[in-house]
């Protein structure tokens, strides 16, 4: 991700460092190994911008070791929180909402999924850059990790509620009048759940379930 990180800083680098040597120094500083969550890493981009600007404006320069330490420490924490919040909660939940809405209002489902997710991710990116840039090295104090965990917990609960709700909604809205369809639906949900718990990959689980469905259908109907 370090290449992408530098790419984000480039327009700013051209503004604050007028000579080639100064630009090279900034880029080299930020080209070191970096790995974090793609959405929350914007926060560190903001912090880097703050440090570089301070360095440009001050005569004595700033301590870049501090920035390096901050980046190393925060990139891991932000990766954990970002993955937990955006990949494991917000993405599945918004997709799930889109999926549910598709049952009732068709094409509105994907549109809603796209809009909600992007509203959240753009907000997170924008807020991250602004906060990091404004607060600099103090920005870490503004990050409330407990609040992030609390949000993740609430989203987890909402996801569980929605799973239960949709579990009932699908058979009703698809009008499964035949018992086999209802049983197969419920059974495949349980089987998929256990397949994933047993660390069987999604494609393999799906292929097994599809073949099971073909054989069951051939026997029953």
């Amino acid at each position: 991700m370090n290449l992408g990180y530098c790419f984000c800083l480039l327009p700013f680098v051209k503004r604050v460092a007028l000579d080639e040597e100064g630009r090279k120094k900034i880029v080299l500083r930020n080209m070191r190994f970096f790995n974090s969550n793609p959405y929350l890493s914007s926060f560190l981009v903001g912090v880097s911008l703050n440090f570089e600007e301070k360095n440009f404006n001050s005569k004595t320069g700033v301590d870049f070791k501090k920035l390096e330490r901050l980046k190393r420490r925060l990139s891991e924490s932000l990766a954990v929180i970002g993955d937990q919040l955006l990949w494991a909660r917000i993405l599945p939940l918004t997709a799930f909402i889109g999926f549910t809405v598709s049952f009732i209002w068709g094409i509105l489902g994907p549109v809603l999924f796209f809009l909600i997710f992007n509203f959240v991710q753009i907000y997170v990116r924008f807020k991250g850059v602004v906060l990091g840039y404004r607060e600099g090295e103090n920005a870490v104090r503004k990050l409330d990790f407990k609040k992030f965990n609390k949000i993740a917990e609430y989203l987890f609960g909402f996801g569980a509620f929605l799973s239960g709700f949709v579990f009932v909604m699908i058979p009703v809205s698809q009008s499964y009048k035949n018992m086999p369809e209802l049983i197969v639906f419920a059974l495949s949900a349980v089987v998929m759940f256990f397949f994933l718990r047993l660390k069987i990959t999604v494609p393999v689980s799906l292929v097994v379930l599809i073949f099971a469905g073909i054989f069951t259908g051939a026997i029953i109907y």
Binding site: L3, G4, C6, F7, L10, E20, R23, V27, Y39, D83, W87, L91, P92, A95, F96, G98, F99, S102, G106, I107, G109, P110, F113, F114, F117, Q121, F156, G159, A160, F161, L162, S163, G164, V166, F167, V168, I170, V172, Q174, E181, V184, F185, A186, S188, A189, V191, M192, F193, F195, T201, V202, P203, L206, V207, L209, I210, G213, T216, G217, Y221
Partner: protein, 232 residues
């Protein structure tokens, strides 16, 4: 068809780029990408159906760190293209076409997953080259290598869609030839199975001992909602 296929493959390139290289705006998610294919080729219902059937199961794969993943988004995208293409050509075998397309999309997403390693290695080469360029003082090359990475993902997506769409065509023709038309009515369980699998994947992501009660409340709320709805 050639122009349609070209357009389909070019959008496949965008799907690949959006998956992990640039923006990650979720345009690449099956629910959105497949519906878009449906919109483009005048069969929104089928596009949306494939998207809905393939969206939830693949959400169980979270793209974090260096985890090995299947190409679920591209697989679903190819599946929707195949399903729409064949449903235009052949009438009365909708279930067979749908199953064959989804089976093909799922299988290729898994079989091609080792390719991800090569894509990551290629990206590493670009990073090293960018690093050397900076040391030589050529800053403009950073943007060049960044765009190279995006372009490589785009080309990968285009080629992937083209190869597996062509392969999928042959696979579906083979399946249609082998499976008797009477089987059509016996394949009605596929939709409930895939929808169930999707709910299972969601349950895996959201249900544990702590949240089990909330899922139960969801079931009761759902039942109450639909009972009231049918009553009024």
């Amino acid at each position: 068809m050639e122009w349609n296929l070209l357009l389909f493959c070019l959008i496949g390139g965008v799907v690949c780029v959006d998956t992990d290289t640039f923006l990650q705006s979720m345009l690449s998610q099956p629910l959105i990408a497949c519906t878009f294919v449906g919109l483009l080729f005048d069969n929104i219902t089928l596009g949306l159906t494939v998207g809905m059937l393939m969206q939830l199961p693949f959400l169980a794969e979270i793209p974090v760190g260096g985890r090995n993943m299947s190409f679920g988004n591209l697989g679903a995208y190819v599946a929707s293209g195949l399903a729409i293409f064949f449903s235009e050509k052949i009438n009365g075998s909708q279930n067979i076409i749908l199953i064959a397309a989804i089976l093909w999309g799922t299988a290729i997403s898994y079989i091609t997953s080792p390719l991800l390693k090569y894509r990551r290695n290629f990206n590493l080469v670009l990073v090293r080259k960018a690093d050397q360029a900076v040391k030589r003082g050529r800053l403009s090359e950073i943007s060049l290598y960044q765009y190279c990475g995006v372009m490589a993902a785009f080309i990968f997506g285009v080629v992937y869609c083209w190869i597996f769409f062509e392969g999928g065509e042959r696979f579906i023709i083979y399946v249609m030839y082998k499976i008797p038309a009477q089987m059509e009515n016996k394949l009605v369980l596929i939709k409930p199975i895939l929808l169930g699998a999707g709910i299972g994947a969601m349950m895996y992501g959201f249900i544990n001992k702590k949240s089990f009660t909330l899922a139960g409340i969801g079931v009761v709320a759902g039942a109450a909602f639909f009972l009231l709805k049918s009553y009024f």
